[in-house]
């Protein structure tokens, strides 16, 4: 069974094999180390001269990759921890995502910035965050996050080879070692193609009929979904989960359809609560489904605080499986 890490690593290797314009920059990415999370393992041995290990210079990594993209290469910039993405903010906001628009469509910036987000490993306040919400409001930037039910390597390969605009590609640390969800048994999987090439996956714990509740979530939160769906199936609670891989732009049609099926919606994410992804999704769903929902939308997120290192404290701050189960039960009741 393939893990998320294997899928991403395989996707990168396919990109390098298919197109010699693909290059990668990042800290500690060379073999035999192969990156802090090993996503680039084996790349530099196979493609010397196309994988570059950098000093601890996140802004320059993304800045240089942006320049390479402007001049016809297909660069992938790896930022070792998602927490460090703040150091790249100027490059993403004022350079890579700006050039095409401000130069009146005369240039393209086919850049992918990959970075792992997420807590649950006790790394503490500056190595555990989910900061993607800070970049959701950047015009002309696509933000993608694979879940366990996606094909992460395929999404990455699409971002690198097919997408001609900058993509912030969010991986989740806890997913790396987990096997991909392939369906079968209680949990059924349906894939919905989206216009921008980043598909949405629907999970169901029922074979027929309409769901009792719809869960909209993404990325690392998907690790909680399959066990929860199996558990709730035993209680005869039918759950539809919508897992978009494109956080921005949102696949609104797909999400609205999924929400309308049950008329009861829970939105969950690992970023901190308030001014987040769920706020936007909920707002757009209210616009679309005004008068067609049976109850207010429930939103779950990490506490609006720093993420402590101590195990119990960190667990209390993050969205737990229990909190998610309770929210779904309450919404379905």
């Amino acid at each position: 069974m393939q893990t998320v890490l294997q899928s991403l690593n395989g996707g990168l290797k396919r990109c390098f094999a298919q197109d010699e314009r693909v290059v990668l920059l990042g800290e500690d990415v060379l073999d035999p180390y192969g990156g802090a999370f090993k996503v680039t393992a084996g790349l530099s041995d196979s493609y010397p001269g196309r994988v570059w290990t950098t000093p601890i210079s996140e802004a320059a990594i993304v800045g240089m990759a942006t320049g390479m993209a402007l001049r016809g290469l297909l660069p992938v910039a790896e930022i070792m921890f998602g927490d460090f993405i703040t150091l790249c903010a100027d490059q993403i906001v004022n350079h890579s995502a700006k050039f095409r628009g401000m130069y009146n469509d005369q240039v393209r910036v086919p850049l992918v910035v990959r970075t792992p987000m997420g807590g649950g490993r006790g790394y503490g306040p500056t190595h555990s965050q989910s900061l993607e919400k800070m970049f959701l409001g950047v015009p002309d930037l696509t933000v993608v996050a694979p879940s366990l039910a996606h094909d992460p390597g395929e999404l990455l390969s699409h971002a690198v080879l097919e997408d001609e605009d900058p993509v912030l590609f969010i991986e989740h640390k806890l997913l790396y070692s987990m096997p991909l969800l392939t369906g079968g048994g209680t949990v059924r999987i349906r894939r919905v193609s989206e216009a921008n090439g980043y598909d949405t996956v629907l999970l169901m714990n029922y074979a027929e009929g309409t769901p009792d509740v719809t869960l909209i979530t993404y990325g690392g939160m998907s690790r909680l979904c399959a066990p929860l769906l199996e558990e709730l199936a035993e209680e005869e609670i039918r759950v539809l989960v919508a897992l978009p891989s494109s956080l921005k732009p949102l696949p609104l049609e797909t999400l609205a359809e999924a929400a309308a099926e049950s008329r009861r919606v829970v939105i969950a994410e690992e970023g901190t609560e308030g001014f987040n992804w769920g706020s936007e999704v909920a707002s757009l769903l209210y616009d679309r489904l005004w008068g067609k929902l049976d109850r207010p939308i429930t939103r779950l997120a990490t506490a609006d605080s720093i993420l402590p290192a101590a195990r119990e404290m960190e667990a209390q701050a993050l969205v737990s499986a229990d909190a998610l189960r309770n929210a779904l039960l309450e919404a379905a009741a």
Binding site: P55, A60, G63, G72, L73, Y103
Partner: protein, 300 residues
């Protein structure tokens, strides 16, 4: 005649920018204007040392001179600042965000430096023989990403020329009030070759830049060219707090005046009037062009 070519380019830049300031006062420009009055020799000297067909230029907020020295596109620049669809970026970019062929500019201090280095890296990988030039000012040395880039450019032997136009100020703040030590020797420890010259004479800028460019192209090593210059105009429009006596002192050393001494008056007058006619025609063309974002053209 190289003197004539340089004079033509410098006087075109001067004439365009003086007209831009008056267009601003007349209410024809939206936003702001950063002119390089007095610094034209930097643009003309450096850009003429490059191969315009393959080399890359990345400029900053004070980019009109670099742009004109590269493209000679007076029409496109004036229309861009006047917010016309015929501007080089259709009016979207305005004064600080220009792009044409291998020329790019952006209004963020320092952020363009790694981008230019990345472009140089791409060209090196492609084996095109192109180099990238990026323009900095005194104030840009305050940005951390500049030092990240100095390090990487040297570490990876990138064909990039950093050009620092040191005009003594960052907006209103004198260099001595914001930088410790010596800017011109800062990159020594990165192993980047530096040449620093006074900008009195465009020929000196040109020959210095040309020899640096040849060296960079041959050895694929970065270099820094420090140009000690002076801005005769305000930072942007009328925001000048420098002592008038200081500005007057530099006015007598204007590199444009130095170059004029090399040319007969008849030649100067002919070039000057041609530049004035070109600029007037470009303004008229822009006035007639469709307003960007408007549903109909507005009569001038």
């Amino acid at each position: 005649m190289i003197e004539e070519t340089f004079y033509k380019q410098m006087i075109t830049i001067r004439t365009v920018e003086q007209r831009l300031l008056s267009l601003f006062s007349e209410g024809h420009l939206n936003g702001t204007v950063h002119t390089c009055l007095g610094q034209e020799a930097c643009a003309v000297g450096v850009v003429n040392a490059l191969d315009r067909d393959r080399d890359i230029l990345f400029s900053n907020h004070r980019c009109h001179g670099h742009f004109l020295a590269y493209s000679d596109n007076v029409d496109g620049l004036i229309a861009e600042l006047m917010g016309r669809t015929t501007g080089v970026c259709g009016g979207i970019g305005g004064s600080q965000h220009l792009h044409e062929r291998n020329f790019y500019s952006n209004g963020i201090q320092g952020g363009i430096v790694p981008v230019a280095a990345g472009m140089a890296f791409a060209e090196k990988m492609k084996g095109s023989g192109a180099i990238a030039v990026v323009f900095l000012g005194d104030g840009t040395f305050g940005e951390g990403v500049v030092y990240e880039t100095f390090n990487l450019a040297s570490l990876w032997s990138l064909p990039v020329l950093f050009v620092a136009e040191l005009n003594g100020y960052a907006q209103s703040t004198p260099t001595a009030m914001e930088h410790a030590g010596d800017l011109e020797t800062r990159v020594d420890s990165f192993g980047i070759h530096t040449v620093a010259i006074e900008v009195n004479d465009v020929h000196c800028v040109h020959s210095t830049a040309r020899s640096l460019v040849e060296g960079i192209r041959e050895a694929s090593r970065p270099a820094l060219l420090c140009l000690r210059t002076y801005r005769l105009g305000p930072h942007s429009k009328g925001d000048d707090t420098r002592p008038a006596t200081e500005i007057e002192r530099y006015r007598t050393r204007d590199p444009l005046l130095q170059l004029e001494r090399e040319l007969p008056e008849s030649v100067r007058m002919a070039i000057r009037s041609e530049a004035e006619l070109r600029v007037a025609a470009s303004v008229a063309n822009a006035m007639d062009a469709p307003i960007a974002g408007a549903t109909r053209a507005v009569a001038a």
